[in-house]
């Protein structure tokens, strides 16, 4: 078959390269100057007479020095720009253009690793040569993300040489729509966009709808703050998403599809556009897929900055050229969706998993994860954790494993690992909740998380240390949903506004006995009364923090203190004269000179000057400063 031949030809010609150098060109590494490294490397290699081709020539069978390519995000963004060299199995971190000369002379010419660019093992300090030695990578199970960071997302032949589009060919040539639906259903795949709805069931619902016109929509809106999994898949392996859409199209009988990408992701937009155009050029998309006479085309649409457009009915309205307002369900989009036609909306990661399932079979897919949540899940690990970045682990993995093993532990204010530092993890963004110390060993899957009032959501994991005020966290999410409420229904529009006002009262010291009961009542009402998922889940961060950190709320309300010393309005630092040794440390730390006192005598704070930064409290070794 032509597809296979093309993949093989590519695979063969790439064998003629002695080395392959991959530079991460994900958003994070580019922000850190990856492209400058790329250019410097090309030039330096050239100066040494090493040819680093950046484009693979199909016909070329002569042995060549090396191939230099870009990849999507490799996940370890904090250590970027990343540069890997195969087959040596070397991964260099934080590479600067000034390091390039050494890389060329030592590694490319001599085959030796430049030690200072290797990642030092966090416990032993020994330089790790490659991914298999770096705990961050070794402890994950990367399947959906596997090719993100190894293949060149802008070259369709790379994807083909790794078996790409083979699953789509199988779906069109060897399977009937009901069999495709059946396979996905049997795999137990659940939607990765938040709700965890069984993908096969959704497809089946659309498949049985009559009529020749149906749509597939890929939801790449990813509005959750703190999440960038979908971005990385679209940037790192866009063909997997397109192939997933083709398979979905075959399953329900659709001939047109949209990828809706948020406008903040220009690189993802460009790469998905390019992927669709390249697939069309090869005849993989178009009027006649695999010679079956069946057609499928993909359009790429940019969002325009409205979080609520991630909600499926709102997203469809937006594609139709309207305000992106949600509609009550039913009818479900699978019955009556885009332009009134049956429509499947799936998340990016869901669709990227589909070709893998067809390739390996439903049974093999079910071997990973838990019985009710099979497979792996990508998470964006951020906040007060040593290794921030993009990770992928099987469902059922514990939070402890993620935070302490993969993430390398919780960091304190100074950025260093602090053993006792862990306070909570916020999961699932503005629709989610908090996990605390008591949940560290809970196997994380859709149902376990829902049962404790949190949710997988899209997969944002924000680690928070002891210096985080949970009321402020709740307020942050409330502010977000209040801004993003589309305003269509009253419980969401007015309810979130009032909840935010109550939270303001709490953090600014105006709360009374009534505030907490009122906040709770309001939260429950918004949850049941709102029209769409945005409003229905908006109270979750509040309810969840109230449940797990009630004492913190109460300290704010009743004692008017913020135990984490974050809420400035509640701080009235004062020096307890009997404890003060007059060491002057606080006075030297105070940025505004609000502390006065002679050496060896008790100091005093001038409340008029004090800006309530808390620096003095941290500075005092005798715990003499209170009220903050």
């Amino acid at each position: 078959m032509e597809l296979q031949a093309m993949g093989e030809a590519y695979g063969k010609s790439s064998k003629h390269f002695r080395r392959r150098v991959v530079i991460c060109a994900g958003t994070g590494c580019m922000a850190n100057g990856a492209m400058k490294v790329f250019e410097a490397l090309r030039k330096e290699a050239g100066d040494h007479g090493i040819s680093l081709d950046i484009e693979l020539d199909f016909e070329e069978t002569r042995d060549r020095d090396g191939l230099l390519t870009k990849s999507g995000c490799q996940g370890f963004c904090q250590m970027g720009p990343l540069l890997s060299i195969e087959p040596d199995g070397i991964l260099y971190c934080k590479v600067r253009p000034t390091d390039v000369a050494e890389i060329v002379s030592q590694t490319l010419l001599d085959g030796k690793a430049v030690e200072r660019l290797l990642y030092p093992h966090p416990t032993t300090g020994k330089p790790c040569r490659g991914r298999h030695e770096i705990p961050f990578y070794a402890l994950q199970q990367r399947t959906v993300l596997k090719s993100c960071g190894s293949l060149d997302p802008e070259d369709i032949r790379e994807y083909l040489s790794q078996g790409g589009y083979r699953s789509a060919a199988k779906a069109y040539l060897e399977m009937q729509p009901d069999a495709v639906c059946g396979e996905i259903l049997a795999s137990g795949l659940r939607g990765r966009g938040g709700g965890g709805f069984p993908t096969g069931r959704k497809w089946e619902m659309a498949r049985v709808q009559p009529g020749p016109k149906k749509y597939i929509v890929c939801n790449g809106d990813e509005g959750d703050p703190g999440a960038f999994m979908d971005r990385s898949v679209m940037e790192g392996n866009p063909h997997a998403v397109i192939e997933g859409m083709m398979i979905a199209a075959r399953a329900i009988g659709a001939d047109e599809g949209y990828v809706y990408v948020r406008a903040e992701y220009p690189l993802a937009v460009a790469r998905v556009r390019r992927a669709a155009a390249d697939a069309e050029k090869l005849g993989l998309l178009g009027d006649d897929l695999f010679g079956t006479g069946m057609g499928f085309r993909v359009h790429v649409m940019e969002g325009a900055g409205a979080f609520v457009c991630g909600e499926e009915t709102a997203l469809l309205a937006s594609i139709e050229g309207q305000r992106g307002m949600p509609m009550p369900k039913p009818p479900f989009p699978a019955q009556c969706g885009l332009f009134g036609k049956p429509t499947i909306i799936n998340n990016v990661e869901t669709l990227a998993s589909v070709p893998l399932i067809l390739a390996q079979g439903a049974a093999a897919f079910k071997e990973t994860g838990t019985p009710a949540s099979p497979g792996t899940k990508t998470f964006a690990l951020t906040g007060h954790v040593a290794n921030t970045g993009l990770i992928e682990v099987p469902f059922g993995t514990s939070l402890r494993h993620i935070v302490y093993e993969v993430g390398g532990g919780v960091t304190g204010k100074d950025g260093r690992i602090s053993e006792a530092g862990f306070k909570a993890v916020q999961i699932g963004g503005p629709s989610g909740g908090c996990l605390t110390r008591e949940h560290l060993d809970l196997p994380m899957d859709f149902d376990n998380l829902t049962s404790i009032g949190a949710m997988v959501g899209s997969g944002g994991l924000v680690v928070m240390n002891q210096e985080t005020c949970m009321v402020q966290v709740a307020k942050f999410f409330m502010q977000f949903t209040q801004n993003e409420s589309c305003g269509k229904c009253v419980p969401c529009r007015e309810g979130t506004r009032q909840m935010l006002a109550l939270l303001d009262d709490i953090t600014e010291g105006r709360a009374t006995e009534e505030t907490l009961p009122l906040l709770e009542m309001l939260a429950r009402n918004v949850k049941v009364g709102a029209l769409c998922g945005l409003g229905k889940t908006a109270p979750n961060p509040v309810l969840s923090t109230l449940k797990h950190f009630r004492d913190e709320y109460e300290a704010h309300v009743h004692r008017k203190v913020c135990p984490s010393r974050v809420c400035k309005a509640l701080m009235t630092p004062a020096i307890e004269a009997s404890l003060c040794k007059g060491c002057t440390l606080c006075a030297r730390k105070c940025p505004v000179g609000a502390i006065i006192g002679e050496r060896k005598t008790a100091h005093q704070i001038d409340p008029g000057k004090c800006i309530r930064c808390g620096a003095c409290v941290d500075a005092c070794k005798f715990n003499a400063i209170t009220g903050a």
Binding site: M301, I319, T382, G429
Partner: protein, 168 residues
């Protein structure tokens, strides 16, 4: 040419571009969002008379176009500065101190409250809810350039860099 003629000519040129954009989208009213995006790319904001023209050409009411334009946060009804600085205030950036960046930049630019653009039309300062570069929190974008792990002093340095480049 007198001033009014100049203005008229200017307006004519403006509309020509809009017509091109409309034609490029086959005057399809379902393509309203991408049309407005293209228009905004051209003018850096959505001038009122252009929205009216778009409405008439697509056969929909100006109120509807206006409704769509105000719904999405990407559409600006006021002109923006030459450099649009967007500080991320997503969860990851927030817990790592993005507010300090905003405060520092606001101070430097003399902005605050509802004022988001400097009087000389050079800088617009906004916050956004996540740039998807959370591994590098706190992050900010100047036009298309993403900067990661930015502290308040670095933010000010970046600003100074632009000012120097502009000879300010």
């Amino acid at each position: 040419m007198d001033a009014t003629a100049k203005v008229a000519q200017e307006a004519g040129r403006r509309f020509e571009k809009v017509i091109q954009i409309l034609d490029g989208h086959n005057r399809d009213r379902t393509r309203l969002v991408p049309i407005l995006q293209a228009v905004q790319e051209e003018y850096r904001y959505l001038p009122e008379e252009v929205m009216t023209l778009v409405a008439t050409s697509l056969g929909i009411s100006p109120a509807k176009v206006y409704g769509v334009a105000t719904f999405y946060s990407h559409f600006a009804l006021q002109p923006k500065g030459k450099y649009v600085i967007r500080v991320c205030d997503g969860t990851a950036c927030h817990v790592k101190g993005s507010q300090d960046l905003v405060d520092a930049l606001q101070g430097k630019l003399g902005l605050g409250g509802s004022r988001k653009t400097t009087a000389d039309m050079m800088f617009t300062l906004e916050t956004v809810s996540c740039l998807g570069a959370c591994g590098l929190a706190p992050a900010m974008v100047v036009n298309e350039d993403v900067h990661g792990q930015v502290g308040p002093d670095q933010a000010c340095e970046i600003l100074e860099g632009i000012r120097q480049q502009e000879g300010m």
